[in-house]
């Protein structure tokens, strides 16, 4: 029953060409070139001039692979539930329960700190046909994820092994423009990109993208250094839907950003440190990610910061679980991917992570947990989670959020060049 499924429409000719070629393995390339030589090194290296390796777009993964009882899970730091055991060590309760239930032991690690950086690390290994050592990696929708799919470095998922995902996953995350049909990825958690501002420093209500351009906040405005976030949100602010946008629109958006920069309204293009700047008062209004504001207020013990989705529209992004080719334990991996779509597990994760859970049904579980909680602090925190629009967004919020524009490699180059001319100045 496992046959090749439909190819997504954005696949380009180079990829299809790659599919028809015999896969050149590292071993083969080396054997052909004889002993250690620069030629062999260059031919095998990811930046060399050989054709893209036509990786396994085959269902032999699911036909042949067996459960092994081991799972190597590579994720982001602090992106899972944790507890402290009696010896003072951190444990991961949801993983412990998973092992109890399935007998699969999880080697959990947190190697991913930045999607571009992580991609730069795994690309040479995947290009050389070496396993990267993880069965599941968590990758944000991005140019890098598109490249992983185009290079066919991800194992195509078998939907029959993901009943929980199809049953419990929210409609929004089952329909992601960058991976139509959920062929290669399913969500881990999602978040919004919108605007955050300091209510102590700004008395009026912020509602619009254009508030980021208000001269009243001169030198106190933060934008993201990430071309995807900044570019797409600016397009939305100008009333253009990212997926309908053309390079001429991108240029218009970049010009708008350039003006903001040159007039001194913009303080800086921030990376994740934007939240620190906002908390410290270095900025008073900034582009922001949804979960951070909740955490910043919690950390500071106040409610000074507020996150909004601009009325022109906000962005939704998703960190996605996927199985890299060469993964040693794919069955164990997909078992886990299905497992986290159990509302109970999803609730456990949501309570700890506070980003948008892909399982709306988890809300009821969190409410039950809150009702059952005995100490006041826990009760309060669980109630907050259940009512948080950052974890369980309303349909109205979801309706006005868009994924980044999906970019093929040529477009990605153009996109980055246009926006980096302003951001990387």
């Amino acid at each position: 029953m496992t046959t090749l499924r439909e190819l997504p429409e954005f696949l380009d000719a180079a990829f299809l060409r790659g599919l028809t070629q015999r896969r050149i393995t590292r071993r083969g390339a080396l054997a052909g070139a004889g002993a250690i030589s620069l030629g062999a090194f260059l031919a095998a290296c990811g930046i060399g001039g050989n054709q893209p390796s036509a990786a396994t777009h085959q269902n032999w993964v699911w036909d042949k692979a067996k459960k092994t009882g081991t799972l190597d899970f590579g994720s982001w730091p602090l992106y899972i539930d944790t507890a402290v055991d009696s010896a003072g060590n951190t444990t991961y309760p949801s993983l412990v329960e998973f092992t109890k239930e399935t007998g699969i032991k999880v080697n959990y690690s947190e190697p991913i700190q930045d999607i571009a950086e992580f991609f730069a690390k795994i690309a040479p290994q995947l290009q050389a046909g070496t396993p990267i050592g993880y069965d599941i990696i968590v990758i944000t929708n991005s140019i890098q994820l598109t490249n992983l799919m185009l290079k066919h470095w991800l194992v195509e998922l078998d939907p029959s092994k993901l009943p929980n995902f199809y049953k419990n996953g929210s409609k929004r995350v089952q329909n992601r423009s960058f991976d139509p049909g959920n062929r290669f990825t399913i969500p881990w958690q999602s978040g919004f990109t919108g605007i955050a501002y300091n209510t102590k420093k700004i008395s009026r209500e912020i509602t619009s993208y254009n508030d980021l351009f208000d001269p009243a906040f001169k030198g106190k405005v933060g934008m993201f250094t990430f071309t995807q976030d900044t570019g797409n949100l600016t397009l939305l602010g100008m009333g253009i839907k990212p997926d309908n946008s053309k390079p001429s629109d991108w240029q218009k958006a970049a010009d708008k950003l350039k003006q903001q920069r040159d007039s001194g309204i913009l303080r800086k293009f921030y990376d994740q440190s934007y939240i620190k700047a906002l908390s410290a008062g270095d900025t008073v209004i900034s582009m922001a990610w949804s979960g951070d504001v909740y955490q910043a207020n919690l950390s500071a013990g106040n409610e000074d910061l507020k996150f909004i989705l601009p009325k022109e529209g906000g962005l939704i992004w998703t960190d996605n679980m996927c199985i890299p080719v060469g993964a040693a334990h794919p069955v164990d991996a997909i078992t886990y991917m299905n497992y986290v779509y159990d509302p109970k597990v999803a609730a456990e994760l949501a309570e700890a992570i506070n980003y948008i859970t892909p399982v709306p049904g988890a809300k009821a579980v969190v409410e039950q947990d809150a009702a059952a909680a005995t100490d006041a602090d826990t009760k309060q925190s669980l109630t907050d989670t259940a009512n948080s629009s950052a974890v369980f967004p309303t349909d109205a919020d979801l309706a006005k959020t868009y994924y980044y524009r999906t970019l093929n490699p040529a477009e990605a180059t153009q996109w980055n060049d246009i926006f980096n001319a302003v951001i990387l100045s």
């Binding site: 982001w76 050389a128 950390s299």
Partner: protein, 294 residues
Amino acid sequence: MSTAVPAAAQPRQTPVAAAVSRSRIRPSRLILPAYAHLVILWLFAPIFVMMVFGFNDTHGKFNFTWAGFTLRWFMHPFGIPTLTSAALTSLWTALTATLISTSLGTMLALASHRYDFRGKTILNSVLIMNIAASEVVVGSALLTLFVTYGVGLGYVTIVLAQVMFTIPFVAITVGARLAGTDPALEEAAQDLGATPVVTFFLITLPVIFPGVLAAALLALAISLDDYVITSFVAGNTQTFPLWVFGATREGVPPQVNVIGTLIFTFGVLVAVGGAVYRSWSVRRLARETGFQSR
């Protein structure tokens, strides 16, 4: 180091002692020590902030707004196993790399300063290029090299890389020490029949030791703190900077500050302990020899 310095070097103490005693007389002499200590204060300023936030009673993931005092992070400084093992990995890889690169770099410096050989200029240019090379690009090329020849990523590749980029720092630092030192002593020793190896350990090393130590400390600091190249060649192994940098997205937990504080405090204790021991041994030496150093 003076414990390692042969007795012949001891008379050097005289002018230093003279300078110290004179500095008590003229107030203008206070400017220099004051300046030096201000520089140290500047170096320590961010460390104080780091320590303070190890006591921050934060309830969220972020630890940069003061929310009250607590000791709870100090109760379980090693409560995050991945962080602890990352710190240990850092320590071992950096120490190994320092040992190797200090040896290799010192040999390069010795060759450069004691001998003439073909390709010296090329060697020096390579050292410069090494420091100037973009870490991202070199890291990636190195990763490709390891992957192509099937070198498993982890401890070994981290050490290989860290030695590679610390060698020039050692060679140049030791070189600065060697520059202008008189090779007459070494030649004399060799004329008296000492083998080059014996000459090195008995004559050269004691003379250049402060330079070698400085170079080793520099190599250690660079290796311990390296992020970019290490991140490329570490595979699934985590080092302390890798872990901490990764945590910035979701918020650096206070345990990181606690571990930083512990490392720092340990270092200060070692430094102070060493200083106390050394002034004690200098005084004992003075007593035994009847030589007044102060």
